[in-house]
Symmetry: C2
Subunit: 396 residues, 2 copies
């Protein structure tokens, strides 16, 4: 089936989402079936407004440079399309003779693709609709892990390494807030920072395990008594005893997905610091950093595995469509462990990825709920790659 291709990027940008975009464009150029290669500006919003650009006009050299640039080169959006929006998207596909539609994003993007595909089917319009996975949250089903995750994980690990070193210099209690609304994979990656037996993070709190502020303070006190300092990793989505996000009381914005605003504010960290200070009393130096948007867009820090795989899933999506698959998503299978790590893409249906996300499995979370397990470390380490190795004085 011959026609044009349309690609859009959705949700929070990542260090490698442009790798997927470029993978799609490069593979599309190889196919005789694909004529124009449209890029939609700002995701589905750009499709509905017919803000399209011609990606064939970009030089190969420029595409390679864009692939290595963090952020969404086409622009992104946080708009979750309604049924009506999807009908509009479909009509734009018809108008522009789009026969290959790619949406790079998380589970909501897979759901949007799923709806567009069903509308096309109802209208007997032949089209290939593919979701290309992207999320630093690493919370998509089916796939072993998600493009975008490992680079963010690398930045998080390096931040905690630096913060541990900083906290050795001027000892105290330090609470770092990491992105992650429902899934703790990114916060868990802070564990890669442990370059020495006494290195932090000493405690890791994940959205999957509600924690009382009393328990958290007790945990911190124990570590502090042992080391004279304590570095804590907290997911922005952590829940209190009630099971509701602690940030619920502080967020003043709700997005179109019904999510409260967690990022782009230091409120959770400041709240936790105030609580620890109040519970422990005076005499403790307690500080917080919210790692912020650098987690997904810091230039120059990325995982090589992640960059390669992000390109790979983009290419695979085009290959699946041109070989005849009608609609689907691309997942990643791990084909080697540890130093022998390797991976390959595989096809999966859109409904397997759409809507519902995947939390961190129980075997990755310590029994006390304040750390990750060795099994998680084996899972995450090969994705993130070799980290800097800080050195301490030996005779100190």
């Amino acid at each position: 089936m011959a026609g044009n291709l349309l690609v859009g990027q959705s949700g929070g940008p990542t260090m490698v989402i442009n790798q997927s975009l470029v993978g799609i464009v490069q593979e599309a150029k190889k196919s005789e079936k694909i004529d124009k290669i449209y890029g939609a500006l700002n995701g589905v919003v750009g499709i509905m407004n017919e803000d399209l650009v011609d990606l064939r006009q970009e030089s190969e050299e420029k595409l390679e440079e864009v692939a290595c640039t963090p952020s969404a080169a086409l622009g992104s959006c946080r708009h979750k399309p309604t049924r009506e929006d999807c009908e509009k998207i479909f009509s734009v596909c018809q108008k522009y003779d789009v026969r290959y539609f790619y949406y790079i994003g998380g589970n909501d993007s897979a759901e949007a693709a799923h709806i567009v595909n069903s509308i096309a089917r109802d209208n007997n319009y032949e089209i290939r609709v593919f979701h290309i996975p992207k999320t630093i949250d690493n919370d998509l089903r089916v796939t072993d892990h998600c493009p975008g995750y490992a680079s963010a994980a690398r930045y998080v690990a390096m931040s905690f390494m630096g913060n541990d070193l900083d906290n050795r210099s001027l000892p105290g209690i330090k609470i770092d807030v990491v992105m992650g609304r429902h899934a703790g994979f990114l916060t868990g990656a802070s564990s890669l920072a442990r370059f020495a037996p006494d290195a932090g993070p000493h405690l890791i709190y994940l959205p999957e395990k509600p924690v009382s502020l009393d328990k958290m303070t007790e945990d911190i006190k124990k570590v502090y008594e042992k080391y004279g300092r304590c570095l804590v990793a907290v997911a922005e989505g952590i829940c209190g005893e009630s099971g509701n996000p602690i940030m619920e009381a502080y967020a003043d914005e709700v997005d179109s997905h019904g999510n409260i605003q967690l990022s782009g504010t230091g409120a959770l960290g400041d709240f936790l610091v105030a609580n620890v200070k109040q519970r422990l009393g005076k005499g403790y130096r307690v500080r917080t950093d919210t790692l912020g948007y650098n987690q997904r867009c810091f230039p120059g820090v990325y995982s090589e595995v992640d960059a390669r795989e992000a390109r790979m899933v983009g290419r695979a999506g085009v290959q699946y469509a041109t070989r005849g698959e009608v609609a689907g998503s691309v997942a990643i299978k791990r084909t080697g462990e540890g130093d022998q790590y390797d991976s390959e893409p595989f096809f999966t249906d859109l409904e397997n990825v759409a809507k519902v996300t995947k939390p961190m499995p129980d075997e990755f979370i310590s029994s006390e709920g304040n750390d990750v397990t060795e099994e998680f470390l084996r899972y995450v380490k090969p994705l993130v790659g070799k980290l800097p190795q800080p050195a301490l004085l030996e005779k100190k």
Copy 2:
């Protein structure tokens, strides 16, 4: 004069303060006049408690690794020694036959060295007392710039580059808070992030220029109307119209230097976001990040010039002492500009560096007070080194 050497590290750690430490140790090893090389744990606190380690026991290989590790390898402190403390420090120097005393830090460390030196003189105790400059604030007098600054500046520039890219993907108003209590050098370095004519930061607010929240909001609105987005750099020490730091109302801690706590909290950013939202009304996406301790301890991101110069000033301090200078500090002179940048150390008296700091000079600040000048860019660029070059789609 023969005897032992004692070195301590003070204040906030940096990416390269261990370069200076290692420079001192390596140069001391070359001198026949210097016997033991003591390291004081946690700065002057460790001296007073006689928490000393023998740095001669560290292998050359380990020292080189430590030099490349961010943070203060000996531990640091924020204690500003009183006259009595300095007498105690002096008595420890006597007890351990310390004839070469090095304190790596900012202006307060120079002042401490100055007092110890005068006590020694009053007691006819022969000793060399040197201050080795270190501060990410870049606010020491005499020297062209301070070791520690350029690496922090590099991290800040890369953060703003990433945040600009992020803000292009999901447009809005983004306010990033940068370290800097009285001096705007570090916040000003955000200007290095401007990789394209429309790239942020679009506005830069420095501690040297008080700003009203009305004016700031007007500035932001203008940029937003032009680009549909706005990235703002704000120093943590910015002052309101009254001339007092905006954070004054939010800080709940004051350190032994009489300084209110500015870092380790997201309060200023959240306050500014709330103000902008209130003044601009609904319909704007406004976010903030406080760049935090990563600015001084993020592993792997550093300026090569900075690392080299930090080593250089440590070495120079020992050379000055062994050639006969009694007490002083090491400053840096620029001996080439732009691509031809080079530098050399020179001797200066302690009182030239102690106590009073240096703000950003007027010629580095734009007339409107919301940006830096070309002159500042010429000053800072060679220190920070080549930055990543993000790529945008050409035909977008």
